[in-house]
Symmetry: D2
């Protein structure tokens, strides 16, 4: 676990603490913290407390020699730039949560159910970069949930365009992150760099690996990203045009039926339903629905006609589980199950 | 003041307490409260306290005989149905905040800067209904701010279509209104009946009175209405297509230049700038901007290109001032200044 | 389960759904809801969703004939007055969460670790009231956590007096309960009837059953109860005088060592540690600590000298688990294990 | 204005912008910001916007040569240590909001209504330190409101001891200050150094200047300080023993009757009532009462018997107005009116 002390690092640790396949072998942090006991350094934010065994582990510096086949990275951006490639070169399989390599032309940006075929790019990645290891990234938290909801519709009908407004949770900005004076009794209608990331990454997710390069899906997407006073769980209001203009009931059926390799392979972190569709008019809501399927599902509600674009709905997803750490772990499980790493 | 004890009623009273033209002559409430001292009955919610003079007024029942030329109505829906028409018939000029008569074919739904000409319908209203008084309505709180921001653009270029997501404040639901367990750490992506109201009323606002009937503007509008943990101030994320596809800078200039009769006549409640345009990337925000121009402006920010529809921005407005009581008072000031009532 | 649709009822159901000893045999509600499917009537508020099996159960009216040996009651006050005694008379063992019978001279007000001996009063209760069943109550949510923290200290040294300020969670008022406009950006420094309940119930909990009557502990307690913007978890600031003026370290050791019959008998709902003592200076906090020991512990922190009364600390506890439904279930487990019901 | 860009600095500026006696002559900030336009540097947090005239002022470095007779200081601690004494030596009258000099043996810690006589210490301060200027401090935000409520009671009866729990607002920690993840759905029962400050400062406020030294009031005070999810307005739950055990009605009358030199002299920032006493059972509340008397009053409610200490009540006050900037300005007005500076 690279960058183990931050909020995403903590979420990784809570998900990996009792993982049936992976064992937490090493925790890394900045050089200043290396050598210290994890429990003494971390300001643990997750309910339920830090597992004792992990608390007693000693932090080490992030180095290419780290003794772990798979490296989950929650490094800050600059550290990611410094270390992720070096680790991959040294033979590690790096599953990164940061944006550093997401848009690289030979790095898969992957959601296990959506575009597992993008892992084919690893071949070129290793050959061109002369790495024995690899880097696989997962996307921005809002892009992941948007894409999960769009992917089955894009497969079934083709998406022509989409207009999205996000209402994003505070934990998405890490800790200390958003100041409380910006959060209580307020909305901040802006998150630096977020809209571009969601638009670009969604197109890469929904695009193709043609053997040589990624071909993004040519879908115009307009995103407005806002921050609301919610601890966890990003809500997104989505309007879109689908080819053929299917009925909302067909859209719901399509979303409900969606399954991918993680479900077929019954991977340990795979949700039974990657997309949960709710019928109640006032759902999904963060407090009620962000933990469905242990936070690994995208929860869709209010599927209905859109008088401008055709169809609209609201999608909610847990931003630090399926939107970050959980997505990375599922990617690693899939590539491990397929003997690609 | 009809329906003086609720949250909108209280806002009316705070705005009318020192009004230079209008004097609070009577406060009405349900029969059960009639005869009681206002200060003993009201659960006053506004900061700064209840003016002493008003606290000492006695409530009366809502009756056609109420002694006041102009009646501001914050009656609940059923009471509005029972009383507003009867009052108008008895010669009162009713300025209503409830939806009962908003879509009536002879009742103006008015924003003083946007469609003052709709007041011409009062002639038909009085003739057909044989009233000596009248009913003028103002719109839904989100519809008012959306319309204020759209009106100058519709005049300048013509709006082809719009996709809107609202993030609405808690006070919009009155008191007790939204349960705290639905508000803290949460978003509710649904407000009953709200989306239809915003879509329809915006079209009526932007439409014409052709001498016989209202002709709504034929603009497809798609609204998703959500409730967020904000006390006052509705935020709206707006994407729209304008004929000719003007540059965002032209859109901003157009919004900034907008003025209407209230500004020309320097009406007491008229904001100097009905639309305030902000340049900072993270504005408007409810806590910082809802009180600009004493809550009588729509505050627009983040005007920028929209890759799907053409242009997008965020608009914020105080929902109980310009979105309710303040809008009604401004309408009354305009019609009084023009000797139409 | 009596009164199954409210917030406490829902918490009961979530705790009983997979209970190893008890099986949910019947759900009751008001006559108006009787006959309907639970899942169609309940507005389920707890994260993670309603168990399918329970959703499919049909509600029945609350009647003495209900087919269940043990009845957990989350009835509203008036319904509790009407039904609890009738059920006990008909042979049911009623574990009540409402205040109706809490201060009755022959009804145990019980915390399983603190005053299990109060169950001896059931003998007199059945004899005097000619019941074949019984009523056992648990206390007010704040009183339970205050008492859990005070009980070991009272046993070890004797409490002379205590001054308490509570910062109580929103869920304590049920649903819809506290209005969001009273909760967001606010504190309400008053909860109707709460201070008296906490003072009286704590004295009864810490008192004795002398074979004939309950003798409350003669401890002056001063409580100020406030409502803060927290979903779950009551925080209490406690200052107290202990005989002999023990050092804070001894107080902490005493709290940590506390165990009762539920721990000895390893009852299914018993927390390993009924009192968790934290050393970090800024703990306990609701979001971080309310779920420790699955919500069944009182979490104490900041144990230190009090320059006025001797010692002070902060105690936090989950108000709807150990402070309500969980406490009742633990009482039932204890009496069942001891063959008293 | 020294330290003009922070949250307290901003509050000073909003209160001084239209001050009838004082004119904003200079704004200072760290050297890095010196020379820049204030409006370009400040991240203005107060509703209603930054006055244009102030926005156009240029920041200067904090230097002894600053051209202003009276210096209001909202400097951070280290900067205060570096600059405040140097400014006083150079002839400026420094009114400081930081804790640096508060407990100095020759520096008045002053609330204009409570202990104006402490200004006599300035004579010794100037003589001993060979200053032509002076330093006067105001206290911690919670200490000020606690003291305002205690002072008349201490004068009338004498306070024997007090137990206090504070529920403090987020703005007390400045900006960015408290992280939103610590604030939303949470209470933090700890504020570093706060409890000691409130205890000590309150004793100094209520003590005497005997001509040579400050003699603190020998009152044991126990404070527990917590942070709650409120933007502005500290709430304090206060239990205390008064000599003679007066009736709560007498306590209320005493609080209501309290006036000081600011009221007699009708100083521009003086509230008509320095202490407002409310009778409603559920008041004071931050959203409703923090702005009473323009934020310059301490608002007391729930005055009632305390079964342990004698009497208890809840006091609320605006922490950045009367609890900080407003208190400093009132001190300056008083000393200016009395020709002491």
């Amino acid at each position: 676990m690279l960058g183990a002390t931050g909020t995403v690092g903590q979420r990784f640790i809570s998900l990996l603490a009792d993982h049936p396949w992976f064992e937490l072998a090493a925790l890394t942090a900045s050089d200043a913290k290396a050598g210290k006991r994890y429990g003494d350094v971390v300001r643990w934010h997750l309910p339920g407390g830090l597992p004792d065994r992990v608390a007693d582990m000693n932090l080490e510096a992030t180095r290419p020699e780290v003794d772990a086949e798979i490296c989950f990275s929650a490094l800050p951006n600059e550290a990611a730039e410094e270390h992720e490639a070096a680790l991959a070169k040294a033979g590690h399989h790096v599953f990164s949560n940061v944006r550093t390599h997401r848009m690289d032309p030979d790095v898969p940006l992957m959601i296990a159910e959506v575009n597992p075929g993008h892992a084919d790019a690893l071949e070129r990645q290793r050959r061109d970069r002369k790495w024995t290891g690899s880097i696989v990234t997962n996307g921005n938290c809002s892009a992941i949930h948007l894409t999960l909801a769009l992917a089955p519709l894009h497969q079934a009908w083709g998406i022509e365009r989409a207009v999205v407004t996000t209402l994003q949770a505070l934990s998405g900005a890490g800790y200390p992150g958003v100041a409380s004076l910006d959060a209580v009794d307020n909305v901040v209608p802006y998150i630096d760099g977020e809209e571009e990331k969601i638009e670009q990454e969604t197109r890469k997710f929904l695009g193709l690996w043609d053997g040589q390069a990624f071909v993004p899906a040519p879908i115009p997407i307009s995103v407005t990203a806002t921050r609301v006073s919610v601890r966890d769980g990003h809500t997104e209001s989505v309007s879109l045009s689908l080819r053929g203009g299917p009925h909302p009931d067909d859209v719901k059926a399509c979303l409900r039926a969606f399954r991918g390799p993680p479900q077929e392979l019954k991977l340990p972190s795979a949700p039974e339903r990657p997309i949960v569709v709710l019928e109640q008019p006032d759902r999904p809501q963060p407090v009620l629905d962000r933990d469905l399927e242990k936070g690994m599902a995208s929860v869709v509600g209010r599927v209905r006609e859109d008088p401008v674009l055709g169809v609209k709905f609201v999608v909610l997803g847990h931003n630090t589980i399926r939107g970050a750490a959980g997505a990375s772990i599922l990617n690693a499980e899939l590539l491990a199950a397929e003997d690609r790493i």
